[in-house]
Every structure is written in C-alpha cells, then in structure tokens.
Symmetry: C2
C-alpha cells in the first residue's frame, strides 16, 4: 500500500489540518470532535444543513460546506460512520433558530447515529428534519445497508436543499425539497479496481485482470455481477438501463446527468463516459438540461464511475443554478 | 489495462464529444482539427489566449477555456503535441484584433509546433506573443525537453494572464504578466505509481512495491531519484526544499501554494499533503495568501502529487482573484 499519508491512524485528522490550512478563511475546523463548519455559522433565521459520513469520499462532505450548500459536515474515520456527538456538535453549531436538516446516506451506522443525534438535539430544543438518500438502484440490503444505498444523489440534495435554505425556505420546505431530489434521483456505479483503506492496507476486494464490478458500492460493497470489461458505451448502457427503468424516466423528462468519478479514474475517461451517457439519454428522449462531470463522491483511489440521473422541475433547476461557494462547488455571484 | 474508453484510437475524440455534450452551451468543440473554443470567441478588442498540449492532463487545457482564462485549447493525442494546424485554427478562432498569446509548456514538440503556428499566424497578419512555462525544478534536459519542463505553473499562468486579458490589458502586457508568473513560480512532483497510455497499454515505468519517484514528469519522465516511500511530511520536504532554494523564496514572501494531484491520488491525501506544505511554508516564513488543492494538471491515472509555489505581488493576486468561468475553475460574479 502506497499512500500520501503520515500514518493510517491520523489520516482524517491530518486531512482536516489541510482543510483548515487551505480554507480556514471560510471554514472552521474542530478536532474534538471532528467537524467542518461555515465560518459564519450559525446564521440567524436560516435553516441549517448538515451532513456527514465516513471519510474517504472526498470532496463529500467537507468540500460542500459553504454559502448555498451545507452549513457543516461531520467526517468519520475512513468508511466509518461519524458519531452522534459529532452530529450533535455540528447541529448546535449551525442552529440559527430555524431548525436543522440532517442529510443522511442510507448506511446502517449513519442512520442510527444521526437518529440518536437528532433525538439529542430535539431534547435541547432544536428542531431537526432528516432527509435520507437511497438512490442506488444496484442492490437491496447491501453489506452496510438495509434497503438501498445512498450515493451520488446526496451531492445533488446538498446543493439543491442548500440553495432552498439560502433562499429563506423554512425547515419543512427545505426537507421536502431534499426528499424530492432523492425521490427523483437514481444512481448506479461500476468499479474497474478496488480501493484500499489506510487502516486495512489491503484492497477491499479482488477483481480479475479484465473484470469490472457492475453496481459497486462506494465502500467496495458487492454490486450485481462481475463481467469482462466492455467499452465505455457498453458500460454506460449497463448502468443506464436499470437507472432509466427504475424511476422510470420517460421521454420528454428534463434531467440533470451526473457522471461521477470514484477517485482513481482520470477526467479524460469521465468525459468519454459522459458522451455515452448523453447519447443514451437522448435516445431515451430525455432533455439533458444540466450536468456535472468529475470526482464528487469518491471511494478513495478506486477506479470507476457512477451515473446519477435527476428528474428536474422548475424549482429544482432554479436551486441547482443558484450561487454556491464551497471548496468543491463554486459558481454564481 | 482497464480503462473507461471505447478504443485506444478514439479516446481524445470520444472525450471531446463528452466535453461538447457537457459544455456545448459555453464551448465550441471542433474535431478537424481538435480545438475547444469559447462559444463567444473571437471577442473584439480582447487579447486572445490559447494553450495546448498532449491530452491526458485533464482538466488542462480544455477545462480552462472560458471567460477569465483561455479562449481556446488545442488537445493533442495522449501525451503527444498538438499540430501547428490545430494551433493556427485556434489562433484564428480567438483573434479579436488585439493579438493572441500562446501559452506553451516547455516540451520540444510543443515548442516547435507552437513556433510554426505563430509564424503561420503572423503571416496572416495576427500578432502573436509566446509565454513559455518551465517551472519544474526537478531536472534539466528531460526525456522530451531541453531545459526545464513546464508543469503546474501553467495553470496559474492561464488563470492570471487570462484575467489580465479579460481586464483589457494589451498583448505585450498580458504576455509580460504570463512570463512574470512563470518566472515567479517553481514546481516539483512525486509519483507513487506509473500511468498507462491507452495506446501503449503498459505502465510508463516500473516502481518497486514501496518505492516513489521524486521529481517525476507529467508524462512519467524520470525524476531525480527513487527511494522508499516516506511519510507525507517527508515527501513534502523532499519537494519543498528544492523549490524554496531555487527561486529562492525568502521569509516574508507572499505566496500562492498549489498542491496538484496527478490523477489517481484521492483528495483526502492531497489535503494531508497540503497540511505539510503549509507547515513547511510557515517554517520558511512565507505568507500563504492563496492556495489551490486538487487535480488540475494530471498524468492520466498516475498516483502522486506536485507542489507549485508562486511568489505573489498585488497585481498577480488581483488577477488570481478575478472572476473565472470555465468547466474546471469557476468563481466570482
């Protein structure tokens, strides 16, 4: 195992020191417990948004903290849920009196810990709504999940619900918009290689020389099946068919297409892949109104990609387009 | 070799189809020859900026085309210089009557082809100034280079000179600012793994199980030496010492620090690395006024990172902060 780290034990703390050094002008990093918070939080009267999960998926979630997106993130150890005390600390740090939304990816540890944190926050008089993401159509009841896994749509929920909160919408409205994004989004991924957590030092699974895993999870959880690697066109079709059938997406639907790299796949390949996704979407009659191509929810150095399609309406589109100013997503005024 | 591609022969064309599908609202992609041009080019009275080089370094250069940065990019085949006809086409496409700056990384093929393109453009009455980048302190006279290689500082030249052109500066001024960025910038990189070009199908070099290459080039060109992998702190010091000595950077200097991923290293590791860079910079008395952390000039799926330090003055800082709106760098109004 070769990694650009100091020690497997200190990876998360060391990375957070880097986040603090790079973005300390706009983010406040705490180390006991680990949180990344907007420097200007809490914002009086604004609904707060927090998320969190195991580290190793960067830029998710810390890279999405800032105006127009999250108010705070709680990074756990690599591929390990953060603890309720982190979530409670973040909730209190961003509570501006209008309540706090917890955006939770559907993994058992995250769900349980966020539930406990929400209970603790409510006991302190903070209103909390939870938005659960479970957009991965690959499998039900995976290694760490009852039901479907939460993957790429989480980025879109954080952006769109974040914009709704920035626009002054109330707690129930922001949560409803977040849930609508999840309900209208579907994802699936493919791995060309495994990843290695610093603590284990070994690949999370073994793939044959020419084999890919269709339906991979973001922690290396098993997908639907393995097969010899095909062309980008074939792989795009492998992922798009179940995504399109699941919602289902219908001809004429307005869609945001998100091609996400798993961390170790170069951008040139992600654009090759996006071309195939766009072609399949057009063949299906979809109107591709927006897109996002890059490494946004990763699995350490895993090679591979996922596709997320989100059915848009005017409101979701307007909030997608709204300004955002975070380390990983920045646009607008 | 497992890659998310259709065929080794069509990688660049297929990726450009993806760029067109994703960014066709703001970029114009041509396929014969390959160019990526701002949709609103040429802009009358504005100095045009183009760059180009072999593909495989994405988002460089196509991801930097847009307001506040490049007017066009010329992608060559993977790790292969673009041709003079591409550069001439791009030059003509962006010529708004105020001349065109060619930003050229110091590799022999690129230099010769850009020289020829500049001559052809001048013969057609277009004024051309060339800014050569050669910021890599690792080695002199590398595999594809006489003198020093152009690496990370190229991103900074494109951003800062691009802002100067957007601000209405004239051809000589924009070129002078670009040259000043190169003169004030120094870089060096480390590889933890090799990369594999689609055409060759084999790793560009072999590294031992626990070995790194200090001073690696962005095409896998040899660096200064190999050694067993050390901690992120040790590796940062390996790169920072020659960088700091070379300019030299002095206590009190205002600096932009750029930690660049080679393509296959996850962002969590880049932040670990940035923490060490910031610490060493502080120990040296530098004032770290700006930073950039991420995959900006890559070597396909190579694992590793490079450090670029740029000595800032008020003007360079102002142009760095100016708005930019490209696929890969976006901020401001």
């Amino acid at each position: 195992m070769k990694k650009l780290i100091n020690s497997p034990d200190s990876v998360v703390a060391d990375a957070l020191r880097g986040v603090e050094a790079a973005h300390g002008d706009r983010l406040r990093v705490t180390f006991d417990p680990f949180t990344v918070v907007r420097a200007d939080a809490p914002i009086s009267g604004k609904v707060g948004l927090i998320s969190g999960g195991g580290s190793g998926h960067e830029p998710m979630h810390g890279g999405y903290v800032g105006p127009g997106m999250l108010d705070a993130a709680c990074p756990g150890e690599v591929f390990t849920s953060p603890t309720p005390d982190q979530m409670l600390a973040a909730t209190k740090a961003v509570n501006g009196g209008a309540g706090v939304v917890h955006i939770v990816k559907n993994y058992t540890g995250d769900v349980l810990n966020f539930e406990m944190a929400a209970d603790l926050a409510k006991a302190e008089g903070i209103e909390v709504e939870t938005v659960l993401t479970n957009d991965d159509v690959a499998v039900e009841d995976s290694l760490y999940t009852a039901g479907r896994r939460g993957v790429g749509v989480t980025v879109l929920v954080e952006k769109i619900a974040g914009a709704a909160a920035a626009a002054g919408r109330n707690l129930q409205e922001v949560a409803e918009i977040g849930r609508r994004v999840n309900a209208n989004g579907r994802s699936m991924g493919v791995a060309l290689s495994a990843c290695t957590t610093p603590a284990s030092g070994r690949p999370s699974f073994e793939l044959g020389e020419d084999e890919v895993e269709i339906g991979i999870g973001i922690h290396g959880e098993p997908g639907r099946f393995r097969e010899p690697i095909g062309s980008a066109a074939q792989l795009a079709s492998r992922l798009m068919t179940p995504i399109l059938e699941d919602l289902p997406f219908r001809s004429g639907d307005r869609v945001l297409a998100f091609v996400n790299g798993m961390g170790g796949t170069p951008l040139i390949e992600l654009y090759v892949f996006y071309a195939e996704v766009a072609k399949l979407a057009a063949e299906h009659g979809l109107k591709l109104e927006r897109n996002l191509v890059g490494n946004y929810i990763t699995s350490l150095e895993m090679q591979g990609a996922s596709i997320t399609l989100l059915k848009l309406d005017d409101e979701l589109l307007r909030y997608w387009d709204a300004p955002v100013d975070t380390p990983a997503l920045r646009w607008g005024a």
